[in-house]
Symmetry: C2
Subunit: 229 residues, 2 copies
């Protein structure tokens, strides 16, 4: 146990945001029975240039083979490790409107290692019901400790809910409310604002503007789409 996990350098935020993408492409490649992928196919499938792929993956340590590419199994393993898929982690979800319901029952939302540990709402009609195998608790009864809280609540309630979560010792919030949360230092907030995403798209549509972080204006692959199924 001398150098347990010190293989990878510090990854940039931009790289981290792409790791889940690579992970998905690699898992898919494994399912298709491919044993090796190179940066070009990884890139086209992930919507990223080959150079960026290589730069990103180089940050995980030396795992490619020159002249060949990346071994799918090994790459998948390293990505899972970097993304912390081996670590258990409890997630609580607050707000069981349609969005909360969608998240609680989604098969793909939770990363490997993450487990939904509790659900909360304030609506008496919802409290006590079962969603995705978990009973919905009353937010007023307090929030249990966890690693992450997902906030799928109306804007007006978000700050209050965030404070309850922080008081419960939760240090990472995934915020779906259109609100900028005030949290103490040491608490991470990741905002996902669905209406903002639409507005960004509309802006680029109206102004005919080009590529955006999310990867706009992607080209159709030259060959036919390689039908999966």
């Amino acid at each position: 146990m001398s150098t347990p996990r010190a293989r990878q350098r510090r990854l940039s935020a931009a790289t981290v945001a792409r790791l889940p993408l690579y992970q998905r492409v690699v898992a898919d490649a494994a399912l298709r029975g491919e044993s090796v992928v190179d940066s070009t196919v990884l890139g086209t499938r992930a919507g990223v240039t080959p150079a960026t792929v290589r730069r990103d993956l180089a940050g995980l340590g030396t795992l490619g083979t020159r002249g060949t590419g990346y071994e799918v199994d090994l790459l998948g393993q390293r990505l899972a490790e970097a993304l912390g898929h081996d670590r258990r982690c409890d997630v609580v979800l607050v707000g069981l409107g349609h969005l909360g319901h969608a998240l609680a029952t989604s098969r793909t939302f939770l990363a490997p290692g993450a487990r939904l540990s509790a659900l909360y709402d304030v609506d008496p009609e919802v409290v006590g019901t079962t969603v995705g195998g978990l009973v919905v608790h009353d937010l007023a009864d307090g929030v249990e400790a966890a690693s992450v809280a997902v906030l799928a609540v109306p804007a007006g309630a978000a700050q209050d809910v965030a404070e309850r979560c922080v008081r419960a010792g939760i240090r990472a919030l995934l915020n779906f409310s259109p609100t900028v949360l005030r949290v103490p230092p040491g608490v991470a907030v990741q905002d996902v604002d669905l209406s903002t995403e639409l507005q960004i798209l509309l802006y680029h549509l109206h102004h005919g503007t080009g590529p955006l972080a999310g990867g706009l204006w992607r080209d159709l692959a030259p060959g036919a789409s390689d039908a999966l199924s």
Copy 2:
């Protein structure tokens, strides 16, 4: 009508992504009865540095007053204009699972100017029902023309749905599926991957890494939170 809309320079993608945030803060300020805001309060409320606020807003033309700040009404007007809130725009939504349902019934998802014009699904149990005042049509019967399509469908269906939309003449897709879509040039795709957002948050939590595009590790405001009721 000599220089109708040529007031603003070309805005960077990063700036565009922040405009909706400013817009919200400004609308909120107007509701509170504030008539002027400066870059510092705008910044703290939007979770952005004052310098960035000024740089961003300067791109909309000269609209601040030195020594004072930005007039709320004027700023709101310019932001709305830049975001195209005056332009009508039809949005179709495909997929009425919980997520689609949430989007279709949300009061905040659609930007001003945007109107939901049609809903589609493939599930016979859902087709024909009414959601948010609109009847759900069968996707197999074809997609009507619109400016934007929102894809809230399972990953396996996303590419097919995207192609139907493109065939219907839609040139902007908001994609909630964990899939990289292949589209012809000239079609804009904005990806929103909810599971990726969680994974990014988990990475930063595990590795104790710092600020991210979304704005992690925000500080608590020095004063008490200015309680809005």
